[in-house]
Amino acid sequence: MHLIVVGLSHKTAPVEIREQLAVPESRLGEALTRLCSYPGIKEGILLSTCNRVEVYSVVDDVDTGCGRIQEFLADTHLSLSSEQLTPHLYWHTGDRAIAHLFRVAASLDSMIIGESQILGQLKDAFEVALAHKTTGVIMNKVVKKAISVAKRVRTETKISEMAVSVSYAAVELAKKIFSNLHEKTVLLIGAGEMAKLAARHLLAHGVGHVRITTRTPQHAVDLAAKFGGTAVPFDQFKDDMASADIVLVSTGASHYLVGAEDVHRAVTERMNRPMFLIDISVPRNIDPAVRHVDNAFLFDIDDLKQRVEQNRAERMREAEKAERMVLEEVTTLLDWMKSLEVTPTIVALRNRVDDIKRAEVEKVLGRLGHLSHQDRELVEGLAASIVNKLIHRTMVTLKTEVNSSNGPAFVEAARRFFHLDRPSPFSRESRDDAEQPRGLDEPPEEFQSEEPAQKPSMRKQAR
């Protein structure tokens, strides 16, 4: 029983390969069913986004499993041959596979570190897998853990706090000049893509009014309709500047459209209320001399990029913290996975019942001091045979189900029925301080408290 991941991402494959391999959401279920129909593949989940296509799977044997998944991936798109695909694939097993999933979920492996989309995509992929019943005990636990790790990373580090795109950096800067963007007016001069994106971000952050001017009057009218704003004739925009708190310029003009004089006049007319000017055009459209005008704050594309770079660096620092968290969480999950191995479970079960048997026999024999040596052996034998008969079926079932897809579920059940993850109250060491050993008919209190936490996973499995 091994956990493996096979896939490719923006780090290993060009977009031409990724787009061919990507599985549309509508066909995800069918693909998953096909994946799990391969022999040796017990559980599977398929994560397909524009930056990565990955198969997480629980397999009997690492090498054959890996081969099967490669086969599956090559079959997903008919025009892609195995030879074309293989050089771009990576695969991890065991703890490295878990760490990889955690890093992906926490957006440490993303193109833009700290972006939040990936977590939603992972949740969706998990939902589809649950709906098609292609996951079991191990996968459910691992993916749920990955989601909780991602949430922990997001709340405990500042990894997704700072703007890492130029258009978003503009919003961040605007918020250092205006505490509240509501009631503010943005004037869009020209309509480059990045300016439109920035305008959209500003609107999303509450900017009240948009005024738009372009050289082609009709274009401005169209855009104004799109943004719910007002079109301004191009030859009048300088007179209109005083009414704008934020001026966003991106035209194809090869000269300065806005001079220091224009801005000075606008600021004076605004009674010195601050003005935020963003020049995203190359070559620049706002005279850099505007920097010397009081209460006017001009930022060009390089300034925004510098801000983005700083934020990226900051995110990298936060990512280091996140990496440490991932390592921690991998260790806890590995401990759990180890507990699902059959042999240690059988040994633990044997020890547990032997402890119980010994404790009970000693208690009884203590009161029956008059028994002969032979009688004592008889009593001991009686206890041993009852215990052995009681656990016989459990042992056999565990051994036979080892390789079935339900194996881990049986192991987990046995561990919980016999409380194998807790120290035995009957073992010799703990008996010395325990006054009254508890029997199995009086379950320790923790037993109840454990139940609700586990229930959801059982329910989802049943679906």
């Binding site: 800067l173 918020k175 250092k176 000049i177 205006f178 505490s179 509240n180 004076t268 605004r270 009674m271 010195n272 209320r273 601050p274 920097r291 009081d294 209460n295 704050f297 930022f299 300034d303 510098q306 801000r307 700083q310």
Partner: protein, 267 residues
Amino acid sequence: MAAVCFMITLVLYILAAVSFFSYSLRRSEALSKVSLGVTVGGFASHTIALVMRMVGPSSSAPPSFSDALSFLSWMIILVFLVVEFRHRIHVLGSFMVPLALVSLVSAAALPETVPTLQPVLKTLWFHVTLSMLGTVGFTVAFVAGVMYLIQDRLLKSKQFNVLYSKLPALDFLDHLNQQSIVLGFPLLTLGIVTGAISADFSRGSYVSWNPEQTWALVTWVFYFVVLLGRLTVGWRAKRAAYLTVIGFAGVILTLVGVALKGSSSLS
């Protein structure tokens, strides 16, 4: 007991000032909670000390200059806590707590050397309280002005450093500046009027042109012009910030004037 509370307050304000200072230099946000907690602790013991002064054995004594400075310090912290809890701008503490500390240290250093104000009438209490409330307004305006100028400089020079990320938006600082003056100015006006009335009662003349009164009037005229300029010809933003920082010098000189005033002259 009051003296013990006073000492505890002093120690806590020193700790808070140091903590807030390192908060403003470090990337981590963790120190803000510690700093704030220490400040609240200091404020609580300060409140106890002031209440004891009001109701304790010395309550019949007229307000000394030291009491006035202690009250000023208490008010600065109060205003800080109110703004902090409403707007969550921790870095404000890095500026206001040190100022409150300076005021409290002066209060601790001065009591014996400066004569208490002569108890002319109850108007003296009004005069001291109102003048100090006006002073608090101008102190907050000064802090907002300094923060504005720093943030303005950082934005203009594109230095996106730790302080940049912690300072609030420019228009918030400008608004804080305006509100403080709008509230502080009428209070100072009343403080000067009640001061003049007390002087008239004790001396028979409203003004004697000693340094304190001279600076108080100069300050009053200055802020009057600043306020008028803002409301009429748009002296806001950077200019307002500069003017309030300059005006605060007048406030300080007035306070120094009070401290240096000989025992012979009356308020």
